[in-house]
Point group: C2
Chain length 458, copies 2
């Protein structure tokens, strides 16, 4: 998947030049749509759109769905407005909205009036849900039946709908006002084929796991993972059935969230496109922006150190331990932050647990600090007397041990509390693992270290 | 989900005390098995096992599947050997193996002979696959039919198997030697209900996405996500059908890999249990181990600095820029490492692309280094003369700018190459984002900085 699939490009281009309908039709249907899309990677958007014309609408929609987002947008930009509007009307409702959200607003304003009224309304409704909510990732196409059908009627109905719907394996039972009443799985229907007159109301499960339309998409992912669902129904406060979120979209959410978290931890803005496909200047801008901010923040270490210049001038050896002290704070802080961020992401703790976390981390910070302090004591005690001047080994070792222990405690408390505070403020807790926090702990670490050193040695 | 569900505990215990079979049976079946498991969280393993006796075997297996791994193991340890062996035989093949792998070997040796021969063979075969391979996470239970059935026969057969199998929505078509020939989805069968005499061979898809039994589980997750599959078939070199991996297990893989990566980046060994449930000493051991290793590694910054002690003694101001210089290396290194690690995880680049990555990152490191160098130059030029002694502003600014630029370039190259080198050596590339690498870059950063400083200023 890493190299463009250029193997069939010459053949494809030849087919296009000859307008060879039979072979192009064969190309569009012979493979899994995702593979067909892979083989079309090297084509220009215009060529890709021409090839797609040889596929039936459902296959065309599927192949298009596996193109990169950039290629999708380019195709929409260049295609005939009327033609592309008809095509957009056939896209799955959730993908359609994602794509329109990524297009230029003027183009969307041009396209919307060309769409059939039902699709236009659906798009406008879905676009109203804030990003990262269940509403923003749900699809409004799902199998829906009333409870007073028999198994035989339901199977007939399902056979009729099977070609159109993305997911037919869960059938949602709704009342006349579209309230969600229950669920019948295709598995249950198949098992009940021998009793074709059973009513759906007697078969359906009434205790359903649902999400609210305004729930965070991470909450959705957590529930689907916990309950091993193929799809989860999305309802409003009155339990109206609004849509479903399917297992494949949940995998995408989990992958995207993990990528976002990793970028935050690594100190950069997430890339939308693939690493080698993104323009050099775009990557530079995203990386330089973060690095420059971190660099400016880190300039405060200079300011902090400069304020202790007298101490350093008197005992140069003190400056040799600075990197050790500040990295202790950074490491213990980012360790605690990672642990708590991940526990929040996995739903193991919530903001309300903050006092339990604080108590736990204060004890842990003390235990960790003493461990590192002991190592620091030994190392400092082994410093050659030549470097130390007239400071005694034991005094220096005692200062280092205390400073390391205190900085470790401080880093652990800061690192564990920040994700919870961020979460409470509606900020992604992942930012707490970012180098920004390490920088904060660096500066305070310098202050702690020299304050202790001055108290004992000067 | 964060707090134990203690609401129903008194009622549950009362039912147990009264041996109230009717109510306990009702409790086991009224809710989704995952919720039932949640409500049983506060029970002791012995109590939980007693409650489970009131559920039919399929429900008992499902509820048990939602218990925490620790509770599952405790139940197996305390239950009657013969009884629990019979229960284990009913667990899904993939879960069963995971659980046995977590048990004491002596206990497994006691249990295995009590299992039916077929299940025992299945367990021994699955346990032979290395951890993190497709073989280790697949289940051997799937719907399998010969190609010479009609749609009607297939539906009847499926209705018979529906209750037993984990997944019936994909039916795999195999020949008499169990070679994978194709796939028919339940959706296709339902759509074809109107043509009940169609042969499966005329309906099935022959172009399948498969994984090899020795493939890495990350590769499995990538394919399932790319092709939006409900399940992916696992085959050997000769295309024998060995098992399937279902969408819910893939979500678990994605979540686990993300958690592992995050822990590596944060500098600690992954926790198996939930944050607040893990014993204090266990957490301390995992955290202190990493922090102590990092601390010992970071002691080299002292050694590196001590070797430049003369330079510091002559120009104390040089020591004030040390944290700035080393954090530049750490930040640019971890940024590059995160980017490349994530691109590897998402399948965007492979080890073979190393020269493209190197060329890209050398240019990028230069561009980023110049950006930060400029900021460093300005800040150093603004240093009050009092701190500098007899070093000129401009000389110092020039040294800082060069050092920052070079360290940034060095950090970027190291950070981008290490994940690829680790991958090549079979080590998790995620380790390259870990603080260990930052520590390495810290020490080399000191050497670069003082080498430049000595060349210009001494």
């Amino acid at each position: 998947m890493s190299l463009p699939n250029t193997l069939y490009l010459p053949e494809l281009r030849e087919m296009l030049a000859e307008n060879n309908a039979a072979e192009l039709r064969e190309f569009c249907t012979a493979l899994h749509p995702a593979r067909t899309a892979d083989f079309m990677e090297g084509l220009t958007p215009a060529e890709a759109w021409r090839v797609l014309q040889f596929a039936e609408m459902p296959v065309r929609v599927e192949i298009f769905g596996y193109f990169s987002r950039d290629k999708q947008l380019d195709i929409i930009r260049l295609a005939d407005r009327q033609e592309i509007a008809e095509f957009i009307a056939h896209l799955p409702p959730d993908d359609r909205v994602d794509i329109l959200n990524a297009l230029e607003p003027e183009l969307v304003a041009e396209l919307l009036p060309l769409l059939p009224a039902a699709e236009r309304r659906d798009i406008l409704r879905l676009r109203a849900y804030p990003e990262n909510t269940a509403g923003a990732i749900m699809t409004t196409e799902f199998a829906r039946l009333p409870e007073d059908l028999t198994v035989r009627q339901a199977l007939d109905e399902l056979a009729r709908q099977a070609a159109e719907l993305e997911t037919i394996y869960y059938i949602y039972i709704v009342d006349s006002q579209d309230h969600l009443e229950g669920l019948v799985s295709a598995r249950q229907l198949l098992s009940a084929m021998g009793r074709p007159d059973t009513m759906l109301r007697d078969l359906m499960e009434r205790e359903l796991v649902t999400v609210n339309v305004t729930d965070d998409r991470e909450e959705v992912a957590r529930k689907v993972a916990r309950y091993d669902l193929l799809a989860i129904p999305v309802v409003d406060q009155e339990r109206h059935m609004l849509g479903i979120i399917t297992h494949d979209d949940v995998i995408d959410v989990v992958v995207e969230e993990a990528t976002e978290d990793a970028y935050h931890m690594g100190g950069m803005a997430p890339l939308v496109e693939s690493y080698l496909d993104t323009a050099f200047l775009t990557v530079w801008r995203k990386r330089a922006g973060w690095l420059a901010m971190l660099f400016v923040a880190e300039l405060f270490t200079f300011t902090a150190l400069a304020s202790f210049e007298d101490a350093i001038k008197q005992i140069v050896a003190l400056s040799l331990f600075v990197p050790l002290c500040i990295s202790t704070g950074g490491n213990s802080g980012s360790q605690a932050a990672t642990l708590i961020t991940r526990a929040i992401a996995l739903g193991q703790i919530t903001v309300r647990d903050w006092y339990r976390v604080l108590a736990h981390e204060m004890l842990m910070g003390l235990a960790l600090g003493c461990t590192l302090g002991c190592i620091g004591f030994v190392r400092a005690a082994l410093t050659p007397q030549g470097i130390l001047g007239d400071v005694s080994h034991w005094e220096l070792a005692w200062v280092i041990a205390q400073a390391v222990a205190l900085i470790c405690l401080w880093g652990t408390i800061t690192g564990s509390m920040l994700p919870l505070i961020f979460k409470r403020l509606g900020i992604d807790p992942g930012f707490a693992s970012s180098p920004f926090v390490a920088t904060l702990v660096d500066v305070t670490g310098i202050v702690i270290y020299f304050t202790i050193a001055k108290a004992y040695l000067l």
